[in-house]
Amino acid sequence: MALPERLTGRELLTYLGLLRGLDRSTVAARAGELLEVLELTAAERTMVTDYSAGMRKKITLATALLHTPRLLVLDEPFEAIDPVSAATIRAILGHFVDAGGSVVISSHVMALVEQVCDHVGVIARGRLVASGTLDQVRDGGSLDDAFVRLVGGRISVEGLSWLAS
C-alpha cells in the first residue's frame, strides 16, 4: 500500500498526528520516540518513497501506534524486516498487549505465528476452518502440519526425478 510518499518519516508521523487532532507537542514527542525505537532516526530526512521494504513496514507500524489505539490489525508485520528490528517489533507488540491492547496478525509464516500468537484462526478459500488457542488448533503437531491438513493441501514431489540424478 502507498503512503504520502513525498514526506519524510517524521513528517508523515506529524501529519497523521495532527490529522488525528493531537496537539503539536504530543505529536513531536511521540514521533521522535517512535522514530528512535524503530531505528528510523538516521533516515528521518529521507522521503518515504526512498525507504526500503523493511523501513516501510516500520514507519507504517509507527503510524498505527501513534494515537495509542487499543486494537492493532497487522498484515505480515515481519515480512522484509531484519532480525534485530523484528525482535524490537515483537517487544513493542508484547508491551502493547501487556498494557491491555490486542493485536490481530495475518501471516503465512506458521513458525512466526507459533512464536507470537496465543489464539489462531485458519482461513481457507474465504472460510474460517479452525479457530481456538494455539494448542487447540495444532492438536499436538506443528502448526505447519495442522495448516496443510486443514486447508486440504497435498505435499508432492512426484516428477522432477532428473533433479536427483
Partner: protein
C-alpha cells in the same frame, strides 16, 4: 561459475543467437499491453514527425544549399531524439537487456551482435526509417546515381542512431535508475508535450527566418535583417513586451532548475531538528509550524510538501507555462500581437487545471491512511483545495499582473481579472468534485518508473486524457459569464458593467470552490469504501478462474482508449482549430500566420465560419466520447 552451474549449450543452440533474440524482442513487443502513456505519446508524436520529415523531402527550393540545410537539420534532430529517447522512456521498456543473458554461455561478441540486430525490431526504427526516406525521396529529383547513394546512406544513418541509443543506455544505466534520471525523463516528456501543442509558433518563426535569408535557419543574430527571438520580424518592437517575456522565461528557467537540483534520494532540508531536538516544538517540520494545528492544516502541509518535492507536479507547472508561453507569448512577440500577452497567466492556469482532474487517483492506495481516521474527509478535501490555491494562485496572478503592467495592455485588466478569478476559484472546486466523482486508479507512486508513469494499462491514459480535457472545458466555461459581462461593458462603454463582470468572475470562482469541496467531502464520507476498493483493485474486480485467469471484459480497454482519442480529436477541433483562429482574428494577428490552423487558409470572410464548424465537430466528438464512456461504465 555460470559455466559450472549451467550445462554448456550445444553449437546448434547458440548458432542462431541473433534470430532467437529478434524473436524474443518481437514477442516482448507483441505481448506488451499497448505500452505506457509515455511510449504511446512518443510513438504518436514520432510518427507525425516522420511523415513531416518525409514531406520535407518533397519541398522544392530554388537554392539547393537550403534543401541540404533543411534535411541535415532534420537528420540531426532525429539523431538527438534517439540519443535522448532512452532517458524519456526509462522504465517503459527498453527492449532486451544484456544482463538477462549474463549467465548463458554466449560469447560477448555474438551476444552483442544479436542484441544489436534485435534493436532494429519495433515501432521506433520503423518510424525512423519513414523519416530517413526523405533523403532518397529528395534525391529522386537529382537522378539515378544520387538515389543509389542516398539509399544506403539513409540505412547507415538508421544504424548510427540505433547504435548511439544503445551506447547512451549503456552509459547512463546507473543514472537512469535513480530518481533524478526519472525526473530528467519526465522533463523531456514535458517538453515534448509542450512542443507538440505549441511548437507551431517556434516552427513558424524559424520558417519565416529560413525564407528571409540564406544560411542556417537555427543561427541567431547575424546580418540581413534577421533577428533573434524576442524581436518582431522587420525590426518592429512589440512595446515593452520583450523584458516581461524574458523575465517570465527566467522564472521558467528557475522552475526548471528547481526540478532538477535536488540530490537523488534525498529530501530537501526541511525536517530541521533531528534527534537532538526530539520531543520539543522544534521537532515540528517547518510547514506545520506555520499552519494551524488542525486536520485541515495537516492536509495543507502534506500537499505543500508534495507540490515542492513531487516532480510530476513541478513538471505540470512547467509544462503549463511552456504551453501557454509557446501558444501566446511567442506569437505575441513574433507576429506583433501584444494583445495576446495578458492571457499567458490565464492560459497556464487553464492547463494546470487539466492536470488536477484525478488527485485521489494520483495518490494511489495512500487514501487508506485517510480512511483510517474517522471524520477527516472534509479536512482532506478542503486541505487539497487550499494547497492548490496557495501554490498555483500566486504564480499565475503575479505572471498576469507583471505581463499587463510591463506591456501597458491596460485594457485587459477587467477581462483577465474576471476570468482568472473564476478559473482560480473553480479549479480547486471542480478538482475535488471530478476527482471524487470519476476517479481513475493509477499505479502507486512508489512503484512508478517516472513522473508520467500512470500504469501499463492504455485505458488509464485514455481515461486520464478524457478527464483532463473535461476539467479544461468545465473550468474554461466557468470563466465565460464574467468575461461576457466585461465584454458587454467594453462594447457599450459602461464601466459599471465591467466591474460587475469582475465581481461575477470572483463569485463564480468562490461558489464553485465551496460547492465542489462540499459535494466531494460528502461523497468521500458516504462512499469512501468504494473509492478505496477502486483505487486498490481497479475499475472492476475480475472473476478469477484457475483455468482461464482473470476474465476481463474484452472491449473495455479498447473503449477507454477510444474515449481518450475522441476527447483528443474534440479538443484539437475546439481549441487550436476553432478558438485559436477566432482569437487570432479578434486580436489582429498577421493573416500570413496560418501554420496548421485550417481556418486561416480559408478566404477572409469564411474564416470564422470554418472555425465555428470545427468547434461544432469538436463538441460532437466530445459528446460521442462521453456517450461511449457512459455506455461502457453501465453494468451489462
Amino acid at each position: 561459475m555460470a559455466g559450472v552451474l549451467t550445462p554448456e549449450l550445444s553449437g546448434a543452440a547458440v548458432r542462431d543467437t541473433a534470430g532467437a533474440l529478434i524473436g524474443m524482442r518481437r514477442s516482448l513487443t507483441c505481448n506488451a499491453p499497448g505500452g505506457s502513456s509515455t511510449v504511446q505519446l512518443f510513438r504518436t508524436v514520432g510518427l507525425g514527425l516522420a511523415v513531416g520529415t518525409l514531406l520535407c523531402g518533397l519541398v522544392r527550393f530554388d537554392d539547393p544549399g537550403r534543401w541540404v540545410d533543411l534535411l541535415a537539420a532534420l537528420y540531426l534532430g532525429w539523431l538527438i531524439g534517439w540519443a535522448m529517447g532512452p532517458i524519456a522512456v526509462r522504465g517503459a521498456g527498453q527492449g532486451l537487456r544484456p544482463e538477462w543473458f549474463a549467465l548463458l554461455p554466449i560469447p560477448p561478441r555474438r551476444l552483442a551482435t544479436g542484441l544489436l540486430a534485435a534493436s532494429f525490431v519495433g515501432a521506433a526504427p520503423a518510424i525512423t526509417l519513414v523519416a530517413f526516406a526523405a533523403l532518397p525521396v529528395a534525391a529522386t529529383r537529382l537522378g539515378v546515381l544520387p538515389l543509389l547513394v542516398t539509399v544506403p546512406a539513409a540505412l547507415l544513418e538508421l544504424v548510427l542512431v540505433v547504435v548511439l541509443s544503445r551506447v547512451v543506455v549503456a552509459a547512463l544505466t546507473a543514472a537512469l535508475s535513480s530518481r533524478r534520471g526519472q525526473e530528467l525523463g519526465g522533463l523531456l516528456v514535458a517538453v515534448v508535450i509542450a512542443l507538440a501543442s505549441g511548437g507551431w509558433s517556434l516552427a513558424t518563426v524559424m520558417g519565416q527566418r529560413l525564407a528571409a535569408g540564406p544560411g542556417p535557419a537555427l543561427g541567431a543574430g547575424g546580418g540581413g535583417g534577421r533577428r533573434p527571438l524576442g524581436l518582431a520580424p522587420g525590426g518592429r518592437r512589440p512595446g515593452r513586451a520583450g523584458p516581461a517575456v524574458w523575465a517570465a522565461a527566467g522564472g521558467l528557467g528557475g522552475l526548471l532548475a528547481r526540478t532538477m537540483r535536488r540530490p537523488a534520494g534525498r529530501a530537501p532540508r526541511v525536517a530541521r531538528g533531528g534527534t537532538a531536538r526530539r520531543g520539543t516544538a522544534a521537532a515540528m517540520p517547518t510547514a506545520w509550524r506555520l499552519l494551524p494545528a488542525s486536520p485541515t492544516g495537516a492536509v495543507v502541509g502534506r500537499e505543500l510538501y508534495a507540490w515542492r518535492r513531487d516532480s510530476a507536479r513541478t513538471l505540470l507547472l512547467l509544462m503549463a507555462l511552456l504551453v501557454s508561453g509557446l501558444n501566446l507569448a511567442v506569437p505575441a512577440l513574433a507576429f506583433s500581437a501584444p494583445a495576446l500577452l495578458p492571457w499567458v497567466g490565464l492560459g497556464a492556469a487553464l492547463i494546470v487545471s487539466a492536470g488536477a482532474a484525478n488527485v485521489y487517483g494520483e495518490d494511489g492506495t495512500a487514501f487508506w491512511l485517510t480512511r483510517m481516521v474517522p471524520g477527516v474527509e472534509r479536512a482532506d478535501v478542503r486541505g487539497r483545495q487550499v494547497a492548490w490555491l496557495l501554490v498555483v494562485g500566486p504564480a499565475m496572478v503575479v505572471l498576469t499582473v507583471a505581463l499587463i503592467a510591463l506591456t501597458g495592455q491596460g485594457w485587459a485588466w477587467p477581462f483577465v481579472l474576471a476570468a482568472l478569478a473564476a478559473v482560480l476559484g473553480a479549479t480547486p472546486g471542480l478538482m475535488a468534485w471530478v476527482s471524487v466523482a470519476r476517479p481513475v486508479p493509477e499505479k502507486d507512486p512508489h512503484l512508478r518508473a517516472g513522473p508520467f508513469d500512470t500504469g501499463d494499462d492504455p485505458s488509464t491514459s485514455g481515461a486520464l486524457a478524457a478527464h483532463g480535457y473535461l476539467m479544461l472545458l468545465l473550468v474554461a466555461a466557468c470563466a465565460v459569464p464574467g468575461a461576457v459581462l466585461v465584454l458587454l461593458g467594453a462594447v457599450r462603454e459602461r464601466p459599471a458593467l465591467q466591474v460587475a463582470g469582475v465581481l461575477v468572475g470572483v463569485a463564480t470562482g468562490g461558489l464553485l470552490y465551496w460547492w465542489g469541496g462540499r459535494v466531494a467531502a460528502r461523497r468521500v464520507a458516504d462512499r469512501g469504501a468504494e473509492l478505496m476498493d477502486l483505487l486498490r483493485l481497479g475499475p472492476e474486480v475480475p472473476a478469477v478462474s484457475e483455468a482461464t485467469g482473470p476474465a476481463r471484459e474484452p472491449g473495455r480497454r479498447r473503449r477507454d482508449a477510444a474515449v481518450g482519442t475522441l476527447w483528443t480529436v474534440g479538443i484539437i477541433c475546439v481549441v487550436p482549430q476553432g478558438l485559436v483562429p477566432v482569437a487570432f482574428s479578434l486580436f489582429g494577428v498577421d493573416p500570413q500566420v496560418r501554420v496548421w490552423f485550417a481556418a486561416r487558409y480559408a478566404p477572409q470572410d469564411l474564416q470564422l465560419l470554418v472555425a465555428a464548424g470545427f468547434i461544432v465537430v469538436g463538441l460532437l466528438a466530445i459528446w460521442w466520447a462521453e456517450t461511449t464512456r457512459r455506455r461502457s461504465s453501465e453494468p451489462s
